[in-house]
């Protein structure tokens, strides 16, 4: 029996799970969603329409595509490109760091999965601004790392106020959001599958590539989305750790809203939303059962 077939036969779906309906055996659960639907429409959809309105109109309430076309302005285009580059690199680094971590945590004998989750989320209890400023203490020329390096007569680490520091800041901020979905997916992989594969003669690498990796893909996609898209719009990190030397699309949007230029700001935000839509499309493609990218 090929390993592939093992995959196909292990998780049989009950008829109710196939179409998702009534998996709790309750028929009328729809009403449970009404409060949420109301909330959704009121506070998610309508504000979006507001942004749509501002993005597509001018001060004189005329319809226009100028606000959206402003993304083609060389400065804005460059800020978008830079943001894309930095987010991309940060996301990849997050993935490379998070995956092994998730695997190790999965294997660990820690009795409580939620404890692991909490330990990873815990740093977020300290204010984000404070933590980012604290990184300055670590990375600066007169900071901790360099003080130690100087003591041992080693060359200085000069990453503060460079794109590398921004990437470090982004990875630092978003790593938990990459670890958790992957970890969550990994712990759900039935150990019997792994054992079956081993029994059939697969070595570790084959097991990983053919079984673990494909099964963990939804978590990976979820993690990538939760890191890439938000990091695209960051501006605090580039100011504090990047020395404000790099103008990212997040800075530009923030600037526009700051000077009260809501139309331009909304226009640029609408452009960014295209990325959100693309991610949502990719997410739902890998999420055939409509689970929703999961964090836990």
């Amino acid at each position: 029996m090929k390993i592939r077939n093992v995959l196909n036969t292990i998780t049989p779906k009950t008829p109710s799970q196939k179409n998702g309906a009534g998996s709790l055996g309750i028929r009328n659960t729809k009403w449970l969603s009404f409060p949420y639907i109301l909330w959704m429409v009121g506070f998610i959809i309508i504000p979006l329409i507001v942004i749509l309105y501002y993005g597509l109109t001018t001060n004189d309430k005329l319809l226009t595509l100028d606000n959206i076309k402003s993304i083609l302005d060389p400065i804005n285009l460059r800020s978008l490109r830079l943001a894309l580059e930095l987010s991309f690199v940060s996301t990849v680094i997050c993935l490379l760091l998070a995956y092994p971590l998730a695997m190790i945590l999965n294997k660990s004998k820690m009795k409580s999965n939620s404890f692991i989750v909490m330990i990873i989320i815990l740093p977020m209890w300290m204010n984000f601004l404070l933590r980012t400023i604290a990184w300055q203490n670590i990375l600066e020329r007169t900071g901790i790392i360099n003080t130690v390096l100087k003591f041992f007569n080693l060359p200085m680490l000069n990453i503060i106020n460079t794109p590398s520091a921004i990437i470090l800041g982004m990875v630092y901020n978003f790593l938990p959001f990459m670890v958790l979905p992957i970890y969550n997916v990994l712990i759900k992989i039935d150990k019997d599958i792994i054992n079956a594969a081993r029994d059939l003669g697969a070595n570790s690498i084959q097991t990983f590539l053919k079984i673990i990796l494909p099964l963990s893909l939804p978590g990976v996609i979820s993690g990538i989305t939760m890191v890439f898209v938000p990091s695209l719009t960051t501006f605090v990190i580039s100011n504090i750790l990047g020395g404000s030397k790099i103008v990212l699309i997040g800075n530009v949007i923030e600037q526009q809203f700051r000077i009260g230029n809501w139309h331009a700001g909304s226009g640029l935000s609408l452009v960014l939303m295209i990325f959100i839509l693309i991610s949502m499309a990719i997410l739902s493609k890998y999420d055939k059962e409509g689970e929703g990218g999961s964090i836990w």
């Binding site: 409060p35 400065i75 007169t142 106020n161 020395g243 030397k245 809203f257 700051r258 009260g260």
Partner: protein
């Protein structure tokens, strides 16, 4: 199911009710910069007048503006900076002040009222609260000559040791004045020249900062920085190697002043508040707390520490003040133009 609905309804009701403010009369809503007052003065104000002060803080003029402009919240007293006051006047967002209710205006030194006319012609809408200059803060032990010119910020010799200010108007003010132009210019050629100068500076700059400049200079992270005079006093105390200078080409004198927005609901309380803040003993309390210079000569008289009273940083000579200009608001389009150029400066 009934229990579920009941519980949710109760919770939602609770949360909505939690927001209902207790409306107990005499209040004044004040919106000021962060850490920009001696909070004790607010207690004294309430004691003396019976008016409760609801105090809120912001970090940037641009944070404050959308909230006032949109009418989202109605404040009674705000403390914007010069160009922002002008912007608000031009956008018809402010009440003219009734100076019958603010007799303490007499303690504000004439020369500041004059400077204020740059953005508030006739001094109709604002009463100065603090003022200061923009200048260079440098570390004596890290430079080999006394500093007196903006040119040092563009000098390749100090590459990597320069902390440039991360603010459009201030950065252009420096470049323009170094080139001999007005910091309120709208002349495209002059602006382009300033932009080119700033662009050449880009590789020399260690970082563009506003408030981070304090800690970085104290820690010796850089040799030269741009700072407001109000901060210079604090930093020099923390690191005696730091010196402040207003360059010979001239600089910016900025004024923050009290204004009353048009949608204020407690105008008389607001005027009482402004009057109170202009009382010499109160102005002195605030000055001691925040170390930003006061335009109140009544307060200046009361300063006990001779060194502070005669400090050229806190109270520069007329000679220095003569070469300083206040910002004017240049209109939305020109603002956008400045910002566009500024973004072009920060290239790679």
């Amino acid at each position: 199911m009934k229990k579920y609905i009941g519980l949710t309804a109760l919770l939602i009701l609770m949360t909505l009710l939690a927001g209902c403010a207790k409306n107990d009369g005499n209040k004044v809503y004040v919106y000021n910069w962060g850490e920009y007052i001696d909070y004790e003065t607010l207690d004294i104000f309430t004691e003396e007048t019976g008016i409760t002060v609801v105090y809120e803080e912001y970090e940037l003029n641009e944070d404050m503006y959308p909230k006032v402009q949109s009418g989202a919240v109605s404040y009674d007293v705000i403390c914007p900076s010069d160009y922002m006051i002008q912007k608000m006047i031009e956008n018809d967002l402010l009440h003219p002040l009734n100076f019958d209710n603010i007799p303490n205006i007499k303690y504000i030194d004439e020369s500041y009222l004059e400077s204020a006319e740059e953005f508030d012609p006739g001094n109709k809408y604002s009463v100065p609260y603090t003022w200061g200059t923009l200048g260079i803060l440098y570390n004596k032990s890290m430079v080999d000559e006394p500093i007196d010119s903006w040119g040092v910020l563009f000098d390749e010799k100090y590459s990597g040791e320069i902390l440039m200010i991360d603010s459009v108007r201030d950065a252009f003010a420096i470049a323009l004045q170094y080139l001999g132009y007005s910091l309120n210019t709208t002349n495209e050629a002059e602006l382009e020249e300033a932009k080119a100068l700033l662009k050449n500076q880009y590789p020399l700059v260690q970082a563009y900062v506003v408030d981070q400049v304090r800690d970085k200079m104290i820690g010796g992270e850089a040799a030269i920085g741009v700072i407001y005079s109000g901060e210079a006093i604090y930093t020099s105390r923390e690191n005696p190697d730091l010196e402040y200078v207003v360059p010979k080409e001239g600089s910016n004198v900025w004024i923050d002043g009290w204004v009353i927005p048009k949608n204020s609901k407690n105008k008389e309380n607001a005027e009482a508040f402004i009057n109170f803040m202009s009382r010499p003993d109160i102005a002195l309390m605030n000055f001691n707390e925040i170390t930003y210079s006061t335009p109140n000569y009544g307060a200046w008289d009361l300063i006990e520490d001779e060194e502070v009273k005669n400090s050229p940083v806190a109270f520069p000579s007329d000679e220095i003040l003569d070469r300083c200009t206040a910002f004017r608001y240049l209109g939305e389009e020109m603002e956008a133009n400045y910002i566009q150029k500024w973004n072009e400066v920060k290239g790679e």
